[in-house]
């Protein structure tokens, strides 16, 4: 579905991504894990055109994405839930969800999706008239995910959805991700919380300083001793 080949991205003269190749197959949950500064977010930003790569190619269902403007990504079914939620604090919860469906014309279906999102996140329904800026961090993350879903994506990419959230809420978010996946949405997930991400992933890539250092099935990587040492901590391996 999505193919990245030999991607090189640099900011000024510093190479953030030094040639990575990865693939996201339809219907899968793929995660990209790694430490801060490994180039995870840059990879996602390159896919949606917020960052211009120096070299390499990104194709989606055979279509070249590098020449597609960011605003057209949602029309192709690609949606990014950005890092740090980035909800529109000055808009109401409902407006945030509606703007997720900004480029859609099928009003009836939009309404259906809105009900689905409200079903996934009942809190959002309760607060639909509230300004998004007044929500808690966890609620904002749910809103960001819900807003992403409103575009009815085929490929939903999420950048650190669990960052800065309480453990219980993290659990809920990952549960929801599985739920979304069940609806047939392909998911590309970026996480520092390797443990939680690998548990739900079909495939995973480990990114280290701009290069892919490991790849494999999510469950396999979860048992890999190097991964345990580097990302999960000593105790996590026993879970």
């Amino acid at each position: 579905m999505l193919k990245i080949e030999n991607l090189v991205v640099s900011y000024n003269s510093i190479e953030a991504i030094k040639g990575i190749t990865l693939e996201v197959n339809e219907g899968k949950i793929v995660s990209l894990i790694g430490a801060n500064g490994a180039g995870k977010s840059t990879t996602l930003k390159s896919i949606v055109g917020l960052v211009k790569p120096q070299r390499g190619s990104i194709t989606y269902q055979g279509k070249d994405l590098l020449s597609t403007p960011t605003k057209d990504m949602v029309k192709h079914g690609i949606t990014l839930v950005p890092e740090g939620r980035r909800v529109f604090a000055n808009l109401t919860v409902l407006e945030n969800l509606k703007i997720g469906a900004y480029s859609r014309k099928d009003e009836k279906e939009v309404q259906k999706d809105l009900e689905w999102v409200y079903e996934l996140f009942p809190k959002l329904k309760e607060r639909s008239w509230q300004q998004a800026g007044t929500l808690s961090g966890g609620e904002q993350q749910m809103l960001a995910v819900g807003r992403g879903l409103m575009s009815r994506p085929k490929l939903l990419m999420m950048d650190e959805p669990s960052l800065g959230l309480a453990p219980l809420i993290v659990k809920e978010i990952f549960h929801i991700i599985k739920e979304i996946h069940k609806q047939g949405v392909t998911i590309l997930l970026i996480e520092q919380n390797a443990n939680a991400a690998l548990k739900i992933s079909d495939e995973a890539y480990v990114l280290e300083t701009g290069l892919i250092s490991m790849k494999g099935k999510g469950k396999e990587l979860l048992e890999n001793s190097d991964i345990i040492k580097a990302y999960l901590g000593e105790t996590a391996g026993h879970k």
């Binding site: 960011t70 605003k71 990504m73 949602v74 950005p82 980035r86 529109f88 000055n90 808009l91 900004y102």
Partner: protein, 302 residues
């Protein structure tokens, strides 16, 4: 005692004048505040766009002998196009440049338009055409005033209602508000950010044209530098109310307009300081509440 000559009639006359001047400031101030909201840019050319609208109306009525309503509609359209053109030429190409670069470009656009007006229309003041329907004198009891003085605030309220409807109730308005918060994320949602910015300039320029037409009828002398002072004062009104906030711009406009007229009315010896009043207000608000009356707290992005 400065109240001695102030009769009720006179006071009402001053007050209505203040309200109508305030309405005009408010209309122009909205253009500043909306552009600032969406681009974090002070559009210094806005005063000149306002000035141009007066010339368009003047040429329409006086030179091409159009009926006033046709001339005014043409004026609104031309001013709107002009605002979009300024955005396209002076700001769009600099979208990713540092803010200071864009600001310098804005100042350049302002001077360019002013001098263009001198070349095209000449520097000598011209008399704005009078339209009897608006400029005739009306007597309410013992208060006599131009019809216009009452029409301006009413018209302003109607335009404001339209604007608030656009911004708060339509999809385009929602996109405007989203873009004003976060260009990148708006783009991710499929919003055409450039188009939204163009619409913002168009709306601001339309309001400047509406303000310009009414300004011309109230103060019927036009010249190429006439956009500077109303432009600056409307900008101050926007800052006063909290720049980026539409309600704030309106409140700032009224405060400034009414304050300015009443100052001169009560203290005629200060007439020469009329313009200074606005700048003193600017300094005061920047010292006391830099975010303006309706301004939000500025929180730095982390």
């Amino acid at each position: 005692m400065f109240f001695q000559d102030m009769t009720f009639e006179l006071f009402m006359q001053h007050l209505t004048n203040g309200i109508s001047l305030g309405s005009l400031y408010a209309l122009i101030a909205i253009g500043y505040t909306m552009v600032y909201g969406i681009l974090r840019l002070i559009n210094f050319a806005h005063g000149e766009i306002f000035m141009m609208s007066l010339y368009f109306a003047f040429y329409g009525v006086a030179m091409f002998a159009m009926p006033w309503y046709v001339a005014f509609i043409v004026t609104i359209i031309l001013t709107c196009l002009m605002g979009m053109l300024v955005e396209r030429a002076a700001y769009k190409t600099l979208r990713d440049s540092p803010r200071i670069t864009v600001m310098v470009s804005a100042i350049g656009a302002s001077f360019f338009l002013q001098n263009l007006a001198v070349v095209l229309f000449g520097g000598r003041p011209k008399a704005f055409p009078t339209v009897g329907l608006f400029t005739d004198v009306l007597k309410i009891g013992t208060v006599s005033l131009q019809r216009l003085t009452l029409m301006i605030p009413i018209a302003t309220m109607v335009f404001l209602w339209g604007l608030l409807y656009l911004v708060n109730k339509t999809k385009t308005g929602m996109a405007m508000r989203a873009v004003s918060k976060d260009h990148e994320t708006a783009r991710l949602m499929g919003v055409d950010v450039n188009r939204t910015i163009t619409i913002t300039f168009a709306v601001g320029s339309i309001l400047a044209a509406l303000g310009g037409i009414m300004w011309g009828m109230k103060f019927p002398q036009i010249q190429p530098t006439m956009g500077v002072m109303p432009g600056l004062k409307a900008f101050i009104a926007a800052v006063l109310g909290g720049i980026g906030n539409i309600h704030g711009a309106v409140i700032g406009g009224f405060l400034l307009g009414i304050g300015e007229i009443l100052l001169v009315a009560f203290l005629p010896e200060l007439t020469g300081y009329r313009d200074a009043f606005a700048f003193i207000m600017l300094i005061a608000i920047l010292l006391l509440k830099p975010t303006g009356i309706m301004g939000e707290k500025i929180s730095e992005k982390v």
